[in-house]
Symmetry: D2
C-alpha cells in the first residue's frame, strides 16, 4: 500500500483527491493538512466523505513529522504558498504532485510576471514535469515532481494539441473562449461567489489577463516549436462543475471536418481518457461531470475557413484531482485508470 498525504485538504481539490482515492485499492491516505481547519474532522467540512470519519486535519507546520508518514504528497495549497512545501518534500526524496501553479511554468521569469511573486526554488523547478499525461507520459513516469496542470489549460491544450502538432491551423489566430463551473473558484466565503450572485447569471472575468494564459502558451509553443500567444477568455457559469472550451483558429489548409476528426483520433489513439466524438456530435459538460474524461468535438466552418474545436472536462477531476491521481498511477506503476473508472454522473 502506498502511503499518501494531502497538504491543503480543506478545499474542493483536496476533497476530490480523497473521494477518488476511496476507490483505489493500492493507496492509503495517512494524513491530511489544513491550517485553518486543523483539529477538525474531514467529515466536519465534508459530510459526504464519511468513510474518512477517523481522519482529522493536521497543521502543515509539523512538516518534518509529515514527511515521515508518507511517500507521496498531493499538494493542494494556494499558489505561492506551495513552493516551499513542495521543495521540502522533494528534497526529502518524496514523490510530489503539486496541484498549485507553482511548478507549472518552466520559466521563472514568466511565473513572476503573472503571479507577482518570485520563484524561490528554481533548482527544484527544473525537475518538475508538466503533468498532462497525453503529452508527457514518459517523463511523468520517471519524475518525482509533477506539476498538475490548471483546469482551463487541460481543456485548451488537449483541444489544440493535434491541430498544432499537425500544422493545420494558423498559430497566430488562436482564440480560446472557456466557460467554467463555479467550483473552479474554490471553496470560499466571498459575496461574489454566493449563490444569489452566481445563479442565473453569466459573466466573463480576467479577460486578457488570466493567469492560465502563460501556461497554455508554454505548452502550445513547445508543440509549435516557436513562441505563440493566444486570446483566452474565461467565463463563470452557474453550475457546479465543468469546463467547456470553444476554440477557434484559421485553417492553414482546407481540411474538412471528417479529416480533422481522423487526425484527432489518430493522435489520441489508445488514450484512456480522451473521447474524440464522431462528426455532428459535440461535447456537453454534463457528459463528463464527476469523471476523468475529456470530450472533444470538431467542426470546420467552410464559409470562414475556420477550425472550431470544442472540449469538455470536469474541472475538479480531469482538470485537477482526477488528473493528479492519473499522474500518481503513472508515477507509482499502477494501471493508469485505477480509481478513475467511474463515468459521469448523469443527470
Amino acid at each position: 500500500m502506498v502511503k499518501a498525504a494531502i497538504c491543503g485538504g480543506s478545499g474542493y481539490a483536496g476533497a476530490e483527491v480523497l473521494r477518488i482515492l476511496l476507490l483505489h485499492p493500492g493507496v492509503e491516505v495517512v494524513a491530511v493538512t489544513s491550517e485553518k481547519s486543523a483539529g477538525k474532522r474531514v467529515t466536519d467540512l465534508f459530510p459526504h466523505l464519511h468513510p474518512y470519519a477517523h481522519l482529522v486535519f493536521g497543521p502543515l507546520n509539523k512538516i518534518e513529522d509529515l514527511a515521515e508518514k508518507a511517500e507521496l504528497f498531493f499538494m493542494a495549497l494556494p499558489h505561492a504558498a506551495s513552493q516551499e512545501a513542495v521543495d521540502f518534500f522533494f528534497g526529502k526524496g518524496k514523490k510530489v504532485i503539486d496541484l498549485s501553479a507553482d511548478f507549472r511554468l518552466s520559466d521563472a521569469a514568466v511565473y513572476e510576471a503573472w503571479y507577482k511573486t518570485p520563484h524561490r526554488y528554481q533548482e527544484t523547478l527544473k525537475q518538475a514535469v508538466y503533468g498532462l499525461p497525453e503529452l508527457h507520459r514518459e517523463r511523468i513516469k520517471k519524475s518525482r515532481l509533477v506539476a498538475n496542470p490548471g483546469c482551463y489549460p487541460t481543456g485548451a491544450i488537449l483541444g489544440l494539441y493535434p491541430a498544432i502538432k499537425e500544422g493545420i491551423i494558423d498559430n497566430g489566430t488562436i482564440i480560446i473562449d472557456s466557460k467554467s463551473g463555479t467550483s473552479g473558484a474554490g471553496r470560499k466565503a466571498e459575496t461574489a461567489f454566493s449563490y444569489c450572485e452566481v445563479n442565473e447569471g453569466f459573466k466573463a472575468y480576467g479577460i486578457a489577463v488570466h493567469r492560465h494564459t502563460p501556461e497554455i502558451e508554454q505548452e502550445l509553443s513547445a508543440m509549435a516549436g516557436k513562441k505563440l500567444t493566444v486570446n483566452f477568455t474565461p467565463h463563470l457559469v452557474a453550475m457546479d462543475r465543468g469546463i467547456f472550451s470553444t476554440i477557434y483558429g484559421k485553417l492553414a489548409g482546407n481540411a474538412d471536418t471528417g479529416e480533422v476528426i481522423g487526425l484527432y483520433r489518430k493522435t489520441y489513439d489508445g488514450e484512456p481518457f480522451v473521447n474524440v466524438l464522431e462528426e455532428g456530435v459535440f461535447p456537453n459538460s454534463k457528459n463528463v461531470r464527476g469523471s476523468n474524461y475529456c470530450e472533444i468535438g470538431i467542426k470546420v466552418n467552410k464559409r470562414t475557413g475556420t477550425l472550431i474545436i470544442v472540449t469538455a472536462i470536469d474541472n475538479l477531476v480531469k482538470g485537477a484531482s482526477g488528473q493528479a491521481v492519473q499522474n500518481m498511477n503513472i508515477m507509482m506503476g499502477f494501471k493508469e485508470t485505477t480509481a478513475l473508472e467511474p463515468v459521469a454522473l448523469f443527470p
Copy 2:
C-alpha cells in the same frame, strides 16, 4: 460472471443500473431493451455511458430470446406495463428485480384502487418481496422476485421505521413532507418538466393522492401491527437528484433528541447505507447525491411535543437503481456494497 439484462433501459433508472454496474466485477450486462429506442446504441441516448459503446437497445418483444440470455432481469418498465414481463421471466425461473410499482403492493385491490388497472398476476405477486434491505434482508436473500421500493417510500420508511417499531410516536399523526429532484419524473418530453418551467420554481403536486402513499402505509402498518394512514405531500424541486423528507409525528412519550438518536442508531447498527447523524447535524441531499446512502437527522421539538425526522437519499440510487443493485447483491450472494462504494459527488 452473472449475466444480467435490463428491460426498459432508455430511462434514467435503466441508465443508472448501467452506470453502477460498470463498477461491478461479477456482473455482465448482456442485453438492454427499449421499445421506442430499439436499434439505437446506448451511447446515442446516453453519451456518458461510452464504455457500453457496443450495446444496442433491442425490442422487448423478442422476450423468449431474451430469457435465454440472462439469469437476472432488472425491469425498468412503466407501471402496469411491467406486470406481464415480470411474470414471464419469473415463470421461466429467472431472478427478477422490478423497479416499477407493479409488485410492491401485496394487496391487489389496493394496487387497483391507486393505479386504476387490475393486477393480472396475483399468484406471482404473492412471491414478491418488498426490496428494502434494511427491513427485509433475509426474505430478499431467498427470493427470486424483488419489488424494488419507490423513491419516496424509501426515504419515508427508513425515516419512520425505528420510531414506529419502538412505539415512540402517535401513529395517527404522521405527516411526510417530501421534496424531490426532477429526475424523479423520468426522462420525458413534457412542457411541465422543461428547464424553464422547473428552474427557479417550487411546487407541490399530487397532494393527498400520490401513488406512493399506499406503499408507505403498507410498510408502516406492518411495523405498527395495525393499519395506519399518513399525510404525504410530494414537491418538485429544481435540482437533478435527491429526495428530502421532513417527517412529523406527535411524541408518544417524552424522549429527547439524544435518546431518539440513540434508538435510531441501535436500529440501524451495522447497516452499510444508513447514516444516523449526530445531534445538531442534519441531512443535505447534496451529501448523498450519486451515492446509495441515506442520511437521517433527528430533532425533538419540546415546545410542541413533536418528533421531526429528516432524511435524504438520491432518488435514482438508493431510491431506485442503487437499491436494485443492492438487492441483486443480496440475492446473488455478492458482498452487499459491491459497486455501491462511491460516496456522493460533492459539489
Copy 3:
C-alpha cells in the same frame, strides 16, 4: 413628492426597495445608508440599479442630518441594530417602516427570549403595528411605525388566517413546512451560502428553533383568541427567490376542498395581492417571482381528515420590500398597489 430614505441599503432588501420605488411616481429616494459600503455608489454594489447612478451610500452615524432630509424611513438594518435608529426617527416625528424583526413582537420578553438581546425601546414598541395589510390595514393607515413582517410569517399567516378565524382546524395540530430561496439569507460572504454549497442541495435548518416561530404564533394566537404553538421548519432551496409553505392542520369539521376555498375567497375578497386558486390548481413560487402577490392553494385530505394549505410568495417582495412599499402606500395615502403592479417575471 414624498422624500424617503433607506437605512441599511446594501443588502437585498434595501436594493429591492430601490428597485420597486423606480416605478413609484410619488416618492423620491433622497438618501441611502450603509456602514460598510459608505462612500460607494449604489451602482458599485448593484449595477442593475443604474437609474440611481447619482446615489452614494452614506454612513448612518450622521443620523441627525439624515432625519432632516426625509419624512419616511425604510429601515433595513440587522436585527438588534435597528432598535435605536428606529426609535430615533420615530422620536423625531418621522414615519418609519422597519424591515428588521425588532418591532414585530409586541411582548418584549418574547423578543428577548428568541433574539437573545433585550428590547431597549419598549415605549416605542407599543406604538408599532404589525404590517400585514390583509390583517391590520386600518391600524397601519393611522400608524407612524410599522413593523414589516418576516418573510416566512407572511406566507404562513396569510395561509392560516381564514382557517383559524373560521375555526375549521384544530389549532393544536398546526405544522408549517416552509421552503425558501437563498436570497432569504441576505447578501453575505459565507461559505455555507456559496454557489457550490447550495446548488443541487436541499436541507432543513433551524428546526424547531427558528426566530420566525414566535412571530407566527403571535399573529395566529391573536386570531384564535388564545395562545397557540406551531411546528415550523424552514428549508433552504437552491433558487434565488420564493417562499413556499406547505401547512397542515387537522380539520375540526368535515368541510371539503371546495367549501374551504369558498371560505378563503370570502376572507380575501377585494385583497389586491392575494390569489386564492381554484380547486385542483396549486401555487408555484415561480408564478409570483418578482411580484407582490401571494398564491394560496387548498386541499382537504378526506382519508386523514387534514386540511393542507399551500402558499407561495416572493420572499424579497411580498415577504419584505414589496410589502414595505405596500405599507408605505397605505400610510401615505397612495393607491395601495402603486409601484407594485408588475406581475411575476416568468420564466
Copy 4:
C-alpha cells in the same frame, strides 16, 4: 388607447409582450391567438398573467375578424408560418411587428438558403424595416412593418456596431461566441430541453450553421459597406434568460481600452437602453434579466492586438418582446421607454 392583438401568444415571447404591456397606459390587448391552445384562458397557460384572467386564446383562422379588432399586431408565430399572416394584416393597412425571422432578411434568396423554404411575399418583404432602434430608428418611425431582430443578432450587432462603423477592427476576423439561456428555445415539450438534460450542463449547438448568422452578417455588412462573414457559435446555458456574447476582432489600429470605450459611448450617446460600462467593469446577464437594457463591456488585449467586446441582454426582452414594445412605442409615437422602465430583477 391603441388596440393591439398578439398572434401566437402561447409561447414565451407572446407571454412577455402581455407581461410588459400591463405597464403600458396607452395600449389595450384585445385579442390573443394560439392554434393549439385555442379555447384556453391565458391564465391556464400562464398563471402569472392573472390580470388577463378574462382573455381567452382564439384560433388564428378567424383572421378576417381579428383584423377588425386591432390596429397593431404583434406576430409571434413560428418561422415560415408567419409570412402569410403578416402579409395579410399588412395588406389590410395594419401596423405589424413580426417577432419571427420571416421579414428580417431583405434578400429572399438568403432567406430561402438558410430557412429552407421560399419567401412567398417578396413585395411585402421590401416594406419591412429591421427593427433595431439603435440603428434604424427613423425608418422604424415611418414604417408599418417592423421585423423584430433575433435574440442573438441583437446582442451581437449592438456589440459590433461602433467598432465596424468607426473601422477599428479587421472585418475579416470577427468571432461571436454567444451563450443563451434556455428560454431562447421556446416553450416546448422536448427531452433535450427538459430540466435534467439542461441543468448542470453546457454545450454548443448549431456551430457554423445557426440561422441567426445571415441576419448578423446582413446588418454588419451594411455598416461596413461591403459583405462580410462571421463565425457565430451559440451555446445553451442552464439559466432561464439572458444572452451573453463574447466578440473578438483583430484591431485595425492600436487603440487602447479607454479610447474604444470613448468611441462606444459617443456612438450610443442618448440611447435609453444601451449601457457602455466603464473600464474594468464587464456585463453580467443577471444585471439585465427582465429588463430591456443591453450592457456592453470593452477590453483591448495588447498582447495579441485583439478587441474583445462583451454584451449582455435578456433574450426575451431586448432580444424579443421588449424590443417589440420599444418598436411599437416608436411606431405609435409613445415615449420610447414606456412600459420598459423596470430594471433587472436581481437577484
